[in-house]
Amino acid sequence: MRGRVPLARRALFQDRRRAALAAGGVAAALLLVLLLQGIFDGAMRQATAYLRASPADVIVSQRDVRTMHMSVSALDPATDDAVRAVDGVAWAEGLRYTTTFLVGAGDRQQLSYVIGYDTATGRGGPRRLSAGRPPGPGEILVERIAADRLGLRLGDRVGVFGGTFRVSGLFHGGTTIANSAAFIRTEDFAAGTPSAYVLVGARPGVPAGDLARRVAAAVPGDTVQTTGRFAREEAALVRDMSADLMRIMSTIGLLIALAVIALTLFTLTLAKLREHAVVKALGGRTRRLAAVVLAEAAWSVALAVAVATAAAVVLGAVVGRVNPAVAVAVTPAGVVRVGLSALAVGAVGAIVPLRRVVAVDPASAFRRAS
């Protein structure tokens, strides 16, 4: 049952066209922020897809190398055995790793991280193949989206390292707008290529953190991280690369939202000044009227966030269909972040209307309407 007359809601939605325009304007601004954030969240998710699917508990890399993206790592050939000898290690597998171009049909090129792994255990490869089989000698696994870009199908040949590999299988996940991943046998890297990373699995009951400390003691010249930590570092790298752009675009979006909210509340408050005076004359306290303005701001923001979220989800799906390499991840955390920012913007936008409401003289209710 209603406790008090919902004055804010009634006033805001009295003119539905104005309310729709205001909410639409704010929603469009928030949509910009949500979409951009979603694109970067999606990129982060794609960038860490391999690590999140990895069975490893710990990853060893060259000293101070903490990521795979934008990194070059080379380990001492003795590292694999040194790690295997650590108490609590169930298995350890070296990965070969480099960045190169895959060359497909019609000389189409795709920048790609190429990972060499032990196909006998499969631990360093993709979790699941969507088509084909693991690579044999002279064969390669290509990500589906990258394969589409390159015009490749199973059995086609793709240029890598100046030679060609036959596509033996396809997997899903890991292609971003900038790059992709591909997998070959360890033995197909040039002879003598050192491991870039060592994936380490823990024995049952050994926590990843403990294992990382033990391995770090065994290979003090290298960097040892839990897989979770490694994935967070990877995500942070993507975030850092996009931070400035995100900040600028988010600021622009929020400023537009601020302008629309402020203008809406200001015009609404001006239109209702006499009615605010009447409420004061009838015994309404200033704080009640202030609450009305703040509630109007909150309603505007809530409506706009809801519309923007729905639009972002729909647009994200459309973008994903048009360009599968661009994943738009509209996450609850992202929506909450945008919602809180929008609430802060709404509060700022309410300042001038609040000042007008506080200053309303109840006696003005007795002035003749023009």
Binding site: L282, G283, R288, A365, F366, R368
Partner: protein, 234 residues
């Protein structure tokens, strides 16, 4: 019994040579159940006096005492609850809130007086039904005639069950039939409910329902005239 007592009430706007006295040393007592009509030319200080009576304007000097509470010296934060507790206001322009329906306009006044929820809804329905608007509860103000709007405004003025009703030109925007209807209604508030009603108006027709008619000119009461027997005029 609730009374309003005004002593040496003065309101001066501006200072020095530019000072203008809108109300000058006015004395007035209003008894329960009494209808007092204050008339006078435009700019005579009628509305200023009404605003001071209703705790919306602080006097330059003098006192307004309502049920033993001195309004002129009350703290600013105490004035809204004083208004919500003691006064009902009727405006010339009705001043209904356009975004609310008829019932909500009355409920809002209940809310301001501390009555909420179902009790406020019941109170609003009861008052509006009493004033012949039981079938208009969900109408918007712009769907009502002038007379109906003013009746809603009167219902709103009664929402907090005030001992005093202050009406500013309540019939000015109404045709003669609706004007008479509102006048009779204001009379009933005094006769049946024992409320004190102070009306500021140019409308001579309201003389018929007043117990006293006061003539305000240049901020001072110039003459006091007895009014016709209010009982016979209803």
């Amino acid at each position: 019994m609730s009374t309003v007592s005004v002593r040496s009430l003065t309101k001066t706007y501006g200072q020095g040579d530019l000072a203008v006295a809108a109300v000058r040393a006015v004395d007035l007592d209003v008894a329960p159940g009494e209808v007092v009509l204050i008339m006078g030319p435009s700019g005579s200080g009628k509305t200023t006096l009404l605003l001071m009576l209703g705790a919306m304007l602080r006097p330059t000097s003098g006192t307004v005492t309502v049920d033993g509470v001195e309004l002129a010296s009350a703290a600013e934060r105490d004035l809204p609850p004083l208004r919500a507790r003691h006064f009902g206001f009727v405006f010339q322009d009705f001043n209904l809130l356009s975004a609310l329906d008829v019932s909500e306009n009355v409920e809002l006044a209940c809310n301001l007086a501390g009555v909420t929820g179902r009790r406020a809804q019941e109170r609003a329905r009861e008052l509006l039904t009493r004033l012949g608007l039981g079938d208009r509860l969900r109408f918007r103000p712009d769907q009502l005639s002038g007379g109906e709007k003013q009746r809603v405004a009167i219902a709103r003025a009664l929402a907090n069950d005030p001992p005093f009703v202050l009406a500013d030109e309540p019939t000015a925007n109404l045709d003669s039939a609706h004007g008479r209807e509102i006048a009779r209604l204001l009379r009933r508030l005094a006769t049946e409910d024992g409320r004190s009603v102070v009306i500021v108006s140019h409308d001579d027709r309201l003389r018929d329902i007043a117990d006293r008619v006061l003539w305000l000119e240049d901020g001072e009461f110039r003459q006091l005239s007895p009014a016709p027997d209010p009982v016979s005029s209803t």
